[in-house]
Symmetry: C2
Subunit: 415 residues, 2 copies
């Protein structure tokens, strides 16, 4: 049994017609017209399979086939259909459409499963103007309260999230009904592009995900002394920008020094004050991020950075004020699903590659309630979140067949 | 003959009552209520001396005594009465009030001068929301066109500059009438706080200014590659922030390496894009500034920085796009005025210190039309543009007497 390569290619191309941005890539943010069009297209596709479609309180789209012979809990394949601004055609979309492709292949081949098979497309996985990412998966796993969702507004337009969700077919006042309890589901599998270059460099199609990285963030404020850029002698300066620059480079040195592909360190947000050409910066603010699935590595990196910051602080007579603003633990993927994915990969004559996911995904939250696994597909040159995001159809075909085989195996072994 | 120490102290204290900012320091920006009050106070003070007061087209305040015995052109003492936000009591104000004090001392002592004596308080010397600093001195020396002034608006409120100038007693449509030609003035002397720590460290009251620094600025854009902060391997990154951080530190290293007090290098304006915690910065923009009165030193520093940027560019595979946005040449102070100031300092039993001004001043522009000189007064700990800006009355008294003697000497020797 095989998935239909031409059909998945056609479906990816069709979904990629929603949200074409004149500035490049796809822009399909929660509540936008293009996002609503993508939903409608997806629901039409599902209904053409005679699947039941339910849009839940947070507007997650659940597509269910009831061709099951028992009352076991469903096995679910899913990801998301929204994109970042100027994003790509595969991030999220691939996981939803391959889920649908596997479902259609099983229907066409008249295979009877013990478990109901579900496909889910989660609402607002990506960073968005409501500042709530992985919104759909966090809502169904009880991690977002009705109060938070009710009060969320678009930071550009001031629009209420509740209105966007209503347009998308949801209703936040029914949030409780959408929440899943442990064992409401037999398994959850998310297929996603790698977004990194490990598979590209190895020239392989797919990988089993072992863990999803922890994410640690500090908000750091550097207190120096603003002063006149001309009259203040170099020796008298307490330049907050230069201290922060050294801190950023110290982070890079520390992380590169670890010498592992599953550790990343980034300063992505950075500002100085008062930010005028003729004034020595008196204050700098930045967010330092470390990602790794290994808690001990994280602790050692933080210790090394602390030593570096203390040195800079002493040398320049500036102060670093540090606040931990995120400390999300790494999560392990289910051994049962990892094994099923590994067997499927090897049975399709592919080399077994195991990777850590260095990005967060809806799968992180699904681990709270069910056996969860992830399958990575190669991104060409590791690109994602951009117009150049690309994945070869050959790799997509391998991923689809691995996913199909995995579902069939899990259906046999899971209760 | 001596100036009146108690009176100048009292006048400085009175002027410092206009613009007291609840957030600290004085805020007296062009067109603000406090700036208008300061003008009124100053005009009242001048009129009490029976001096003629003229507010010109750009609202510079000219205070003139006609107790002269010839038709020689006036000798002018001046500075400005506006402040930066949360600025200090001395920057600008000291030069205007010491001018008035010298004028009053000469009147009281019934000294007849050959030249008319003038005091000027220039409009909007400091950076302001209209983005036109040294507005008054540049207007009278023909460096600002009526078109530029007519179209200037407050970047916060959108208010027209023409309205602010009208409120202050000027009228930009008469700009031509305010413009001075070469030799319309016999001399211009600006007394100003040093704003640096040279005099403070030497524990001296005053210094003769030899030159005013040149100011060189480049707008630099770093083109790297925005990418996912988790999934992009450290070795695959082209992080624009880290490249810019190295560039800022290279500037510091170059300037410190020159090892002279009259060279300064600063990055005061700095931004990154897209500026999100989970995205590797793809672009950075900053303004690199070098100040020195020595053109050769500037050229060598730029060459060294160019070498450094080329190295960073190659190492990180990022691109630096550089544009020179300001290249203001240094200006020399008039030898005649320098000598008169030096003689006066030594006659008052003070050590002769000569300094370069590392800040721009109205005096820069006055060099275009007349013999121009500057006298620096110690700033405690070199502080300026802040609430802590302070100058001892003992040092102010020395400066006032030096200024008085200098005017008397220049009156004799200048035609």
């Amino acid at each position: 049994m095989k998935i239909n390569r031409d059909r998945i290619q056609q479906n990816l191309a069709e979904l990629a017609t929603f949200g074409i941005d004149p500035q490049g890539g796809l822009t399909r943010s929660i509540g936008s017209e293009s996002e609503l069009e993508a939903r409608k297209w997806l629901i039409d596709k599902a209904q053409a399979l005679n699947a039941a479609v339910v849009t839940d309180a947070i507007a997650n789209i659940w597509i269910v086939t009831t061709r099951s012979t028992t009352n076991l809990k469903p096995i679910t394949i899913g990801s998301h259909h929204d994109t970042v601004p100027n994003g790509g055609k595969y991030d999220g979309a691939l996981g939803v459409l391959l889920g649908l492709e596997v479902m259609q292949t099983i229907i066409e081949n008249k295979v009877s499963l013990k478990h109901p098979l579900q496909v889910v497309s989660f609402t607002a996985e990506e960073p968005n103007p409501y500042n709530i990412s992985t919104m759909g998966s966090r809502s169904v796993t009880g991690k977002l309260s009705q109060e938070v969702l009710n009060s969320a507004t678009d930071c550009f337009t001031g629009a209420l999230l509740t209105d966007s969700i209503r347009k998308a077919g949801g209703d936040i006042s029914n949030l409780k009904e959408a929440q899943l309890k442990e064992n409401d589901m037999a398994a959850f599998i998310e297929c996603h592009i790698e977004q990194g270059s490990n598979l590209y460099k190895k020239n392989k199609s797919v990988a089993v995900v072992s863990k999803i990285t922890g994410i640690y963030r500090e908000q750091i404020t550097v207190e120096g002394e603003a002063n006149h850029a001309g009259t203040t002698l170099m020796e008298d300066r307490h330049d907050a920008l230069l201290a922060a620059a050294e801190a950023c480079l110290a982070l890079e040195k520390t992380i590169v020094g670890v010498g592992r592909n599953d550790v990343a360190g980034t300063v992505g947000k950075f500002s100085i004050f008062p930010n005028a050409a003729n004034i020595i910066p008196g204050k700098a603010e930045f967010i330092l991020e470390i990602r790794t699935p290994d808690e001990q590595t994280k602790a050692l990196a933080i210790a090394e950075i602390t030593t570096a910051l203390n040195g800079i602080s002493k040398q320049r007579a500036v102060q670093f004020n540090r606040e931990v603003i995120l400390n999300q633990a790494p999560v392990n993927m289910s051994p049962v699903i990892r094994e099923a994915l590994a067997n499927s990969i090897q049975n399709r004559d592919e080399e077994l590659i195991t990777l850590v996911s260095m990005a967060g995904h809806d799968a992180v939250h699904m681990t709270d309630i069910t056996n969860t696994g992830m399958l990575f597909v190669q991104s060409i040159d590791g690109k994602s979140h951009c117009a150049d995001e690309e994945t070869r159809i050959e790799d997509i075909e391998v991923a689809g067949n691995v996913l199909l085989d995995t579902i069939l195996e899990l259906d046999k072994i899971l209760e």
